[in-house]
């Protein structure tokens, strides 16, 4: 299959692993930024196959996980309103707020719909002129262009019954925050391929230089990940700290220009708090004043009182300080059935990936 089986070939994977084994001389800690990468690593068992010197630290790049609790509570409040059709990506439905999740809002009578694109939500708004249609615009730079486009089109079409609850986050400020953290052990990054396909990799050059850290733009298939790791380890072994692109089939230096123009037009950067991590300056996008009419946070005045489960340590997991099984609640109070934090919910969350695929101390026997 095009672009799929080619990047899962076990023979080529073996060759890349051999190369990494041959060049590594001492321990290195490498963070894969994106939750999609974490999931692929755990699902394919790539971390089990690496030489013991190469440690993978799972990064904060799970959009569902870092969406702040007060924003989720806000979403739950808005979704519960009688006049609202609340549209969201599927992942968000099971993320726990302080009291409940969107699935429960739906079972209580809220009109909560799963859509695959914010543009589908526009269609829902056109078809239901007597309803308020709200889209939950969360995610990293990857989902942002389509969200920007939806708001832009709503403005063009004067679609007064559409609005968006925006909670966008940006990767580069998060990487800077991780490197500034005294607890961080990260020595190299696998940058998120999808984010870079939108934004390009130019914005990572100053980071690599300032923090003397190699950053390799990396895809999501097993061979992509191994190639990214091979390049990071080679840079570390050679004492280099550069930005490399190991995902050229999707990523260019400048990224997707029309997408960036749309983002620039609709959003402006703002401070943003990350669930489990805290506020990171200039790490998010909000709607520009020009599009304030479409801001669901302004349109619906809701008051929320948030309550984070005290035992959940997802913040440390998201910063790569703690591996999921090291949390005392992991697999006990906290399971995908009764998640305490978003990292146990999302298919990209590190805790869920470990719970689903890695609950055994010793490997499954296969002889």
């Amino acid at each position: 299959m095009k672009y799929l089986s080619e990047f899962r070939d076990p023979k080529l994977a073996g060759k890349l692993l051999d190369e990494i084994r041959e060049m590594v001389t001492r321990p290195w800690a490498v963070m894969e930024v994106c939750g999609g990468q974490t999931h692929s690593i755990i699902r394919n068992g790539i971390d089990q196959l690496l030489p013991k010197e190469v440690e993978l630290i799972h990064g904060p790049g799970c959009p569902v996980c870092v969406t702040p609790l007060d924003m989720i509570d806000r979403a739950l409040e808005i979704a519960s309103k009688r006049e609202v059709i609340f549209c969201s990506f599927g992942d968000m439905l099971r993320v726990p707020g302080s009291e409940k999740d969107l699935f429960q809002v739906r079972s209580e009578g809220g009109d909560v719909r799963v859509v695959y694109s914010p543009l589908d939500a526009l269609k829902v708004a056109r078809e239901n002129p007597d309803k308020e249609v709200v889209f939950f615009g969360i995610g990293f730079e990857t989902t942002a262009p389509a969200n920007a486009m939806a708001v832009f089109q709503a403005a063009q079409q004067s679609l007064g019954n559409f609005s968006m609850l925006v909670s966008h986050v940006l990767v580069p400020p998060a990487l800077a925050a991780i490197m500034e953290s005294p607890e961080s052990r990260v020595q190299g990054f696998l940058a998120a391929g999808h984010v870079c396909s939108v934004m390009g990799y130019e914005q990572y050059l100053p980071l690599a230089e300032k923090y003397r850290v190699p950053i390799v733009v990396t895809g999501f298939e097993p061979l992509d990940l191994l190639e990214g790791l091979r390049r990071v380890v080679r840079q570390l072994e050679e004492g280099r700290a550069e930005v490399e692109n190991a995902y050229p089939r999707a990523v260019t230096r400048k990224g997707n220009r029309p997408a960036n123009e749309m983002l620039e037009r609709v959003f402006e950067t703002s401070d943003r708090s990350w669930r489990g991590i805290g506020e990171i300056p200039q790490s998010g996008w909000r709607l520009r004043t020009e599009f304030a009419d479409f801001d669901a946070a302004l349109r619906f005045s809701v008051s929320v009182r948030t309550r984070e489960p005290s035992v959940c340590r997802s913040g440390e997991v998201l910063q790569g300080i703690l591996k999921p099984p090291q949390c005392s609640a992991f697999g006990k109070e906290c399971t995908p059935r009764r998640p305490l934090g978003a990292t146990m919910v999302s298919s990209e969350g590190a805790c869920a990936a470990y719970y689903l695929h890695r609950r055994l101390e010793e490997p499954v026997p296969w002889t």
């Binding site: 755990i42 068992g45 992942d91 209580e108 995610g139 059935r337 298919s347 609950r359």
Partner: protein, 346 residues
């Protein structure tokens, strides 16, 4: 054992209302059955696809299933043949020869009679082809807005010939796990239509009555330990149930699991895992290891089992778990899903 005083050991208090996941065939569904229905009915013990009943000298199997699929019509079939084949398959998985079916219709006011006729025709055709008779039924109509066009319930009775013993609790370490063909086709066929997704090739549902395959397997009933049709929740959920019921672990070999390219591509696009996607015309067989190759050959001799192959084996370590050796040679756990599979954000 007196069950009259038994109360629900785990009140489902964190879900005061029914959520969609309670019908998803995963953990939430199982909890509802285990903690709410079974204690209320005074029942206990392992549940198979159908109840096995001793009536005089004969062993009967009895099963029921409700069909609420959206859309009603999809590539490869409609809700009608699904309702007939689904219950036939539940009977067949207990080693039964399906004989009679009942059908209950819940229709929504305003539903097209022409479409209802097409659904009924499909049911009649599927039953004839399967050699099963639809013998009793019921029709109710609910007000517009209180149903989704048509819901169908079918129940079925089958006869288990002497000498056949299959059940979810009979897998033993060393046994082989066989699947009768590529997985995930039904779920992705339905989802493609539901979400308006178009792919280069149309994915068709695999809906089929599987008792002819079971009859082939039952030529040597002593070689067959357990049978399952992996519907909702896919092969992952079915194998987890088998592993739990038999107190064994099942280990899959990822590279051996057959998935059509189109299904794999559709799953990738939506961020779904084919292991959890529904099938309506595939069976899983746990069989005696030494006979596995012969059994695969036998299955392949039938059109419904053309893609049959061994995908894993039963081991004693980690009872109740399903594991998998990945294509790259690492290992991971394959868990039951909680509720519905959710499409990913990006």
């Amino acid at each position: 054992m007196d069950l009259s005083g038994r109360t629900c050991p785990l009140p489902i208090q964190d879900f005061p209302l029914v959520v969609l996941g309670h019908g998803g065939g995963g953990k939430l569904s199982a909890e509802l059955v285990e903690h709410l229905f079974l204690p209320a009915f005074g029942m206990d013990g392992a549940l198979g696809d159908a109840a096995v009943l001793q009536v005089g000298e004969e062993q009967l199997c009895f099963s029921t299933d409700s069909f609420v699929v959206t859309p009603l019509f999809f590539p490869g079939g409609n809700i009608g043949e699904l309702a007939v084949n689904g219950t036939i398959n539940d009977l067949a998985m207990m080693g039964g020869k399906p004989l009679y079916l009942s059908c209950g219709f819940i229709l929504e006011e305003g539903f097209s009679i022409e479409e209802l006729s097409r659904i009924a025709q499909a049911m009649g055709r599927a039953a004839r082809e399967a050699g099963v008779r639809l013998v009793t039924g019921d029709t109710k109509v609910v007000e517009r807005g209180h149903g989704h066009g048509v819901y169908i319930n079918t129940s079925g009775i089958g006869l288990i010939p002497p000498g056949r013993k299959v059940g979810p609790g009979r897998a033993r370490p060393g046994d082989a796990v066989i699947v009768s063909g590529p997985i995930g086709n039904h779920g992705m066929a339905v989802m493609s239509v539901r979400e308006g997704l178009e792919f280069e090739t149309t994915i068709e549902s695999d809906t089929a009555a599987l008792h002819p395959l079971v009859e082939l397997l039952m030529e040597s009933p002593e070689e067959i330990r357990a049978l399952r049709d992996p519907t909702r929740g896919g092969i992952a959920s079915a194998l987890n149930e088998l592993a739990a019921a038999s107190h064994v672990s099942i280990v899959l070999e990822e590279s051996l699991i057959p998935v059509d390219d189109s299904v794999r591509a559709a799953c990738e696009l939506l961020g779904l895992d084919p292991l959890y996607v529904a099938n309506e015309g595939k069976l899983l067989a746990i069989v005696e290891c030494e006979k596995a190759d012969v059994i695969v050959k036998k299955l392949r001799s039938h059109a419904l089992g053309e893609g049959a192959c061994v995908i894993g084996k039963v081991v004693a370590e980690h009872p109740g778990l399903v594991g998998m050796r990945t294509t790259l040679g690492a290992t991971r756990v394959v868990d039951t899903q909680i509720g519905e599979q959710l499409p990913r954000i990006c």
